[in-house]
Symmetry: D2
Subunit: 296 residues, 4 copies
């Protein structure tokens, strides 16, 4: 299949590579010449602009952009995708943005005759490279069925979350809970150890009891509890604290727009903000446990 | 085996019954004549005081009391257990109290020649009746080995958490994380639904992703997501909000004593306190989601 | 002086009247025919659009609009003020909006040759009617000097806060602290009374000590402590909880944009959001004390 | 007058000196030989124990101790004050402790025929030396009248707060609000400056508006805003962060006992706990603003 791909950064680059590996033909664009060159070397065709991608004869266009402002510009801007793309080309935006913008852009696409899906991912750069991402997809059932085999070349868990925007809703809600439970795990582990308990034994009890969560079991923030976790290698790699901060910012923005309180979520956002201010934004988000432990 | 049992309330009563069913001989005491009479009818021998239990020729004494003050009084008080119990009788306190008091009482017992375990439980009155409690046990390995078959008559998950007090540490840490993740689940579910997503679909996505926790998966606070959960039957039964408030109070007390911060935990405690003030303390603790949803 | 006035709502209406009383000639616009008619009856000239106000031969234009989106549209929109207003006409925006938008609009005005000030107010509808508002003004010193006598017809405290946008900065920072200290006063008063102290005596001690703040002294949230306060008349009138919620939302938005944490501020925002969800948004913002007291 | 004085530390030492200066005769006790020697050199008579002070023929006994445990031991312990002091000797405890303990000790004193006042102070070591402390006094009106001239030798603001324990209630409520409003001032100042405003100008606007509080006006946490404030001398001197942490701990303990929520207060306590964990407990409590600002 001939696919357009916009945004070839840390996530988009490896995702596009996996599409090439699966045998698809790709027309790609990115503002960075280096990112473009790297994909061209891997077999993609270079396009000069988003509009050029739209007119390259593609059947599907996938975008992976940093934030809502970029999505607006690429799709709705003057000379943007929607002003040039032929009707019926399927649009799939994998960026993580607020549900309202996702719905607004999808509605604009629909009015031009283009089906559109929001399909944010989880799994990080590791999952992008390995082709094991989770896609949370919002949009019409039929469009989801069309997209599924394409997304399957980049991920192993493709979930239909309902109508337009719901992929973003699922991601923002999941990461809100993730941000809270990670800090909760950090507080519980730090307190238990301060009270004299062995960290591994404590994690074992919690993980077989009602405190169990992904953050305590798979990604425990205490060093040496889970082998190969970021906590066991100095909090390098993984999902950066500043990315969690961005997602908690999306959650609080969505909460404000729907007049919905998120009390622990707001505190979690601010703790990540304070942590980032202290220069820790590039560490894995489980490093937030440093707020709770004296440096040794 | 001849066992002494002190405290025959909502938890202690059914626990003692399960010991009788397992064929043990019981000498029991409680301040409530009704509670005593009920156990006597089931086959236990009545004792007139904790001291009388201590002198009834028992090999093991189990206590299940409401709070640290009661534990102090029963064990350390004038004419208390420790003043009367023969050396080598194994003492097992199943009350949920702060780790410091647990360690202090165990040290006093040791100085009189009595091994002692702290063994708080989780699983609620349902688990007590069904004999499926989890016991988190602190104390010496050999004493734990001796207690294990006795506790197995009352529970199905008996975990050794390390030295004296660590059963309490494990419980306080687990329930701290549980209180936080339950409120996190309430915020995430409420926000997702306010943003237009179906509650069951959202829970499904979260439970196959990184937001997954016991509170989202087994005990989801949103109505009609998990069959037979308290949320699906009007928040009756289950683990009362006021009990969660008590456990978060133990966590913040332990945090203060160890000079350890617990930021989300402190907010969680206060939200449960505010919820209780509004008259909701007897509801299941997942009802905290009511703070986040307009009444319908 | 001939002045244009845009936005004749609960605040703008009485402000415009005070300009008429001071002898100024007014050309006014509002989307509401009733609001327009009421000002015309008081002596103002009706204009058909913001553009018409811009071209009515005015020396100064004042706007008082609900939110940043309206300010953008009125000033920057197609056929908006900036596309029609003659150079050198002084623009004064009294709306409460985020500092970034204020600076962006002022920069656009400057590029068309129009000096512009941001001049948000405090003092509420009472202050607007009585002409006793406080104006916090951002912009050039010379422009501030020109505006001062005009603003003096509507307020009694006109403060120059520095360059463009700083009027909004001052308001958002002040109201952030106000929102926090009001909840702090609510917690301190509720706790002190729950511990057995008389509310008036407690307020007296606090107000002569280091806990003293505007919220404890002038606007105490406990009933019957300050005569004629909203708390002493059922929390009617005053500064609505939903307006405080809006201002705390501006603070958290500004904090996010500058990557600055505001931990207590974020909790305060969410408590007002939860309070609003319970149907209390129209009450005075000091009614937040209801979260801390059982209804009697 | 012949007065007994127990506890000659950083606060009690200078307070006792001021009583000597006012012409009173003093019998003093402290566990530290150095502290005792220093007072003896200043003219006091040394006693060998609290009981010895009680029997030295004094008319009044004043105590200034670190925490509730010490107050219990000195007054209620074996061979404690109450077991030896003659009836009618007036007891004045200036320690900052929880209201419940204060009331319990006062009730025990009353049953032995001794009037007792709780009289915690504010004003710090500077106020203790200068004799300008504020005393918040709980107890009977007649006893307050008797104590007033004595306390006037050590302070300039002597406030009767009502019945027994209410001095402690007033202090705990005041310092709860102080802790919250200091962090609020830190957040508002940091945000305003991050948004581009001059710190002094911002403080000026806030202090003439509704955000005004003691923490913004007298004790602003931003450097160089208030001359001679701790913030303007590197946060040395003043009221230590660990003392504020202790007082917020008393507030949360009192809140728990009365089942009263204190949401911002709990967050404030934990922020001070985290700040202390980072090694900052000896700095003035206004240094909490460091959590909000990058080190320069």
């Amino acid at each position: 299949m001939h696919i357009g791909f916009l945004g070839l950064g840390n996530m988009g680059g490896p995702m596009a590579r996996n599409l090439l590996k699966a045998g698809h033909q790709l027309s790609v664009f990115d503002l960075s010449p280096a990112a473009l060159a790297s994909l061209v070397e891997a077999g993609a065709q270079q396009a000069a602009s988003p509009a050029a991608v739209a007119q390259a004869g593609v059947e599907v266009i996938i975008s992976m952009l940093p934030a809502a402002a970029h999505v607006r510009q690429v799709y709705l801007g003057e000379d943007g995708l929607l002003s040039r793309v032929p009707a019926n080309v399927l649009l799939i935006d994998c960026s993580t943005i607020d549900p309202m913008t996702a719905r607004e852009v999808a509605a604009a696409a629909a009015s031009k005759g283009n089906p559109m899906l929001d399909a944010p991912v989880s799994g990080g750069t590791g999952g992008a490279a390995a082709g094991t991402l989770t896609f949370m997809v919002g949009g019409k059932e039929a469009d989801f069925r069309q997209a599924e085999p394409i997304l399957a070349a980049m991920g192993k868990n493709i979930v239909h979350c309902g109508d337009s925007g719901n992929g973003q809703v699922a991601k923002v809600a999941n990461n809100l809970l993730l941000g809270i439970s990670m800090i909760g795990a950090a507080e519980a582990m730090s307190l238990g150890v301060a009270l004299g308990m062995d960290a591994k034994v404590l994690a074992g009890v919690i993980n077989s009891s009602s405190g169990r969560c992904w953050s305590s079991e798979i990604y425990n923030p205490f060093p040496e509890v889970v082998e190969n976790s970021p906590a066991s290698r100095g909090y390098s790699g993984g999902f950066g604290a500043d990315l969690m901060l961005k997602d908690l910012g999306l959650a609080s923005e969505a909460a404000k727009q729907t007049r919905q309180p998120i009390i622990l979520g707001a505190v979690a956002q601010q703790l990540y903000q304070a942590f980032s201010l202290q220069g820790n934004g590039a560490l894995d988000f489980s490093a937030i446990i440093k707020l709770y432990r004296q440096e040794h």
